[in-house]
């Protein structure tokens, strides 16, 4: 990531959310990005994932400049290499746990979609809850489904945005254990945005973000 800057125009003034942020993450590394609310953590994560476009600067993923690609190119890249875990889970309410996990496989046109998704849910301890809808699951269970959905395509990079933000301490700890376990198993790179110090210390490296700049 090189000299990433994001500015937004609000009314007549211009607000700089990220200023000249540069860092490199090696394959297999686990990095935590910490900072207070409004420090630009989520914006940074959005830019890393190619969900938004920077005002200046760029992001390279395995040597590929992702902002040299158009939006469809970035979407294809996400499908192939990225996995996401969000604070608010973002499960689709009209789909069962199994179908939520199947969705990324279906979108990428994979084979054995059902079997793969079922195995993944079993791995996160929800083998008995395949046909439950998100609203029938507890918060911790919903986040497990989200983790299963993130890992089922075997992404090389996992991005997590406050994954325990909506969970109590005990449940959050369980979810985090699972995430780190899977990350190790699959050899993925992990970038985690959080303001939970305990959680950040489990990562190999901590990046501190304040007022849009790396400290």
């Amino acid at each position: 990531m090189a000299q990433l800057t994001k500015q937004v125009t609000t009314g007549e003034s211009e607000l700089t959310i990220l200023r000249d942020v540069s860092f490199t993450v090696a394959a297999g590394e686990a990095v935590a990005v910490v900072g207070a609310s409004g420090s630009g953590k989520s914006t940074l994560l959005g830019l890393l994932a190619g969900l938004d476009t920077p005002t200046s600067g760029t992001v390279h993923l395995d040597g590929q400049d992702i902002y040299a690609l158009d939006e469809d190119g970035r979407a294809a890249l996400r499908a192939e290499r990225l996995g996401f875990v969000f604070q608010s889970f973002n499960l689709l309410p009209a789909m069962t746990a199994l179908e939520n996990v199947m969705l990324p496989l279906e979108l990428s046109g994979a084979d054995d979609v059902t079997a793969t998704a079922r195995a993944m849910l079993k791995r996160v301890g929800l083998g008995e809850r395949l046909t439950h809808y998100p609203k029938q699951l507890s918060g911790g269970e919903q986040q497990r489904v989200a983790i299963a959905r993130a890992f089922v395509t075997r992404p090389s990079l996992l991005l997590a945005d406050e994954p325990t933000g909506n969970l109590d301490v005990a449940t959050g700890a369980g979810v985090i254990d699972l995430m780190f376990e899977l990350n190790r198993e699959r050899g993925a790179t992990l970038i985690l945005v959080t303001h939970d110090t305990a959680l950040s210390q489990r990562c190999g490296r901590v990046l501190q973000l304040a007022a849009g700049m790396l400290q």
């Binding site: 989520s42 959005g46 939006e71 979407a75 969705l103 990324p104 046109g109 945005d161």
Partner: protein
Amino acid sequence: MRRHSDIGLALRLLARDWRARELTLVALAVVVAVASVTTVDFFTDRVYQALSRQANQLLGADLVVTGDRPLGDAFEGEAGRRGLQVTRMLRFPSMTAIENRNVLSEVKVVSAGYPLRGELRIADAPYQPDRRATAIPEPGTVWVDEKLYTRLQLQDGDAVEVGNSRLKVAAIITQEPDSAVGFINAGPRVLLNEADIAATGLVQIGSRVRYRVQVAGPPAAVDAYRIWVNARLEPGQRVESIEDARPEIRSALDRAGRFLALSTLLSVILAAVAVALATRRFLQRHLDACAVMRCLGASQGRVVRLYLLQFVALGCVASLIGCLIGWGAQHALALWLGGLVTVALPGAGVMPAVQGFVTGLALLLGFALPPLTALGRVSPLRVLRRDIGAPKGMGALGYVLGAAVISALVLWKAGELKTGLLVLAGFAGALLVAALVSWMVIVAVSQLRGGGVSWRFGIANLRRRRLASMLQVMALGTGVMALLTLTIIRGELLQLWQGSLPSDAPNRFIVNIQKDQVPALERFFAAQGIGMPELYPMVRARLLQINERPVAPTDFTDDRARRLVDREFNLSWATHMQKDNSIVAGSWWNDANGKSAQRTDQFSMEDGIARALGIKLGDVLTFDSAGSTFAAEVTSLRKVDWDSFNVNFFVVAPPGLLEKQPVSYVTSFYLPPGNVALLNALVKQFPNFLLIDVAQVLGQVKMMIEQVSKAVQFVFLFTLLAGLVVLYAAIASSHDERLYQATIMRALGASRAQLARATLAEFAVIGALAGLIAAAGANALGYVLAQRVMNIGYGFSFTVWAVGVVCSIVGIVIAGHLGTRQALQVSPLRVLRQLA
């Protein structure tokens, strides 16, 4: 490959959304739209055709070719080749005699198969029970009607002289299907077999014989045959159909058609509103799903494609179900009306189903396409930041395509551009006014201070979601309007229409009453206990010139115009215009105070006949009556309500113009069924009277009104359903937001009672506004229907306003309360988690 897999994936997504009941409302709206459109189309296709066909019973056939010379074999031969049923008939006046008594009668000579439509009924002796005739008189015998039987003082087994033949009277005719058509058949009837006609020696050169070829068959074949015949008619020959023969029937058929067409328009518009609301809700609820899919690597184009495929598939399935329901409904209807429609219903065509299917897809895609394409632009960042709202294009602008689709559908369904544009303009104007009023009221109400915290919170909601509240008010208003139209307006209008033809509407006309007979006629009616009906003066005259240019039948290409010029007009004079007439151009001669104009050389002409003859306001018409001519200017054109069954005239003059011409009088009165003795006494005392029996035509029109009323009720069932779907969709459109907000309020410590009162305040304002809009709309719609479709007076309906506003407030408050009750009963955390 990708496209192929997308179809499969889209279908799987569709199935999941369906199972989660995300699509129920959209599908229901489409199904109702398609079902109502298809059912009405089937009506037009089948029942309307059946009604026309049933009306043709009064003609005894579907089509009749007549001429004053033998018609030759060509018409008959061609009909046979086309697989149509054919019979021949001759009609002429002749003396019928027995011993030294003789009576001028109307002889009808028929071939086997007569009548092709309707019933010929006979009895063995006068006043005996009758039965349907299954054949025509055997050679050597005749059938006569009761009038002739009485006047010739016949006995059982007598034979009468017709020309050179003596023919035995074998039966009494009690009902002929074609007796009501034209004045010609006013004389007593003799019916004989065509095998006997040569022997009578009555048909010779110069005889006043009308030759007729009568044809019946499938409507399409009859129409094709009509075109073939029209191209080959010679002078003196013409085609008769029931619409030409009886304006009353045409008038009633026209009304039926227009009423049904407007019902369809209402259903289509309502269903469109339901589809729009339901689609909007679906797409709002799928913003997150789109963002997640984008995040998981689906491109913009792919997201749009997946949802588009879903909607096309949904549209196809829902439209198909709608078609099936429409098809089933028309079968049910056929059974239901079966007892009333006496002819076999023509089969259901494929076109209504195709049209319904196209309508369903067009409605769904028209409203879904703009927001669908906008869905592709949902920022994937939404997965991180929920405050990123819907992309542009999902607001008002998104409905432009939908509005275009509705307009196209309305113009298509209206059948004619003018009506379609009128409905569209009316609807758009009403929407605009409703939007303005609700906007202003919402702003005004939100300025109100005071009241408790609940009231303030409820009203603040209205203000905060001003645009959404306004849309909700309008959608609810449309739904309630449909309900009001269905229940109150429909009832009032149909009652008025049925009332326009009272049970004692005139069913007999007396023509040729001489001036010196009037006192005797008055005494006759008094003796019978019947009030003297109003007499109208009548002058028979031939149209000689229009603007001093001589007219001849050959000047006109239109068949009806030719006949009008060829025969004598019936003219009359009057000071006041009859109640069942209305001026469409120019003005009547007496002013508002009833004071007559000084000018006597004026004519008021019936609009339809003026158009057929190309006569405009200001044209001067010259008539000839028994050798004396008179002329006057056309100063007004009138629309005549023919199905009122009153005496009416094509041409009316003010007093002072026609009195010098030979005058006779005409009247109409109601004869209770079965009172044949009165008729016989009348004929006996006034042998010169022509008595015309319109009871059959009257019965036919009454039956048509009844059938159409039933048909309209049936069609309105779908309108009701569409209205209910609109109501539900409108309430549901703000359900999630309300639930969320109420839950937050509860979390902040608001009591259930406070929340319930806030909901009550908000929905009461919405309900009152929707009720007002609905009452205004329904009342206006009723007025337009009454004026333009049924030609009856209809004004302000207090019931509609009272019931509309009260029921709307109560109904919407209850529905709203039920919708948000969930927020008051379950734990706030649970609701928040569900909505997260």
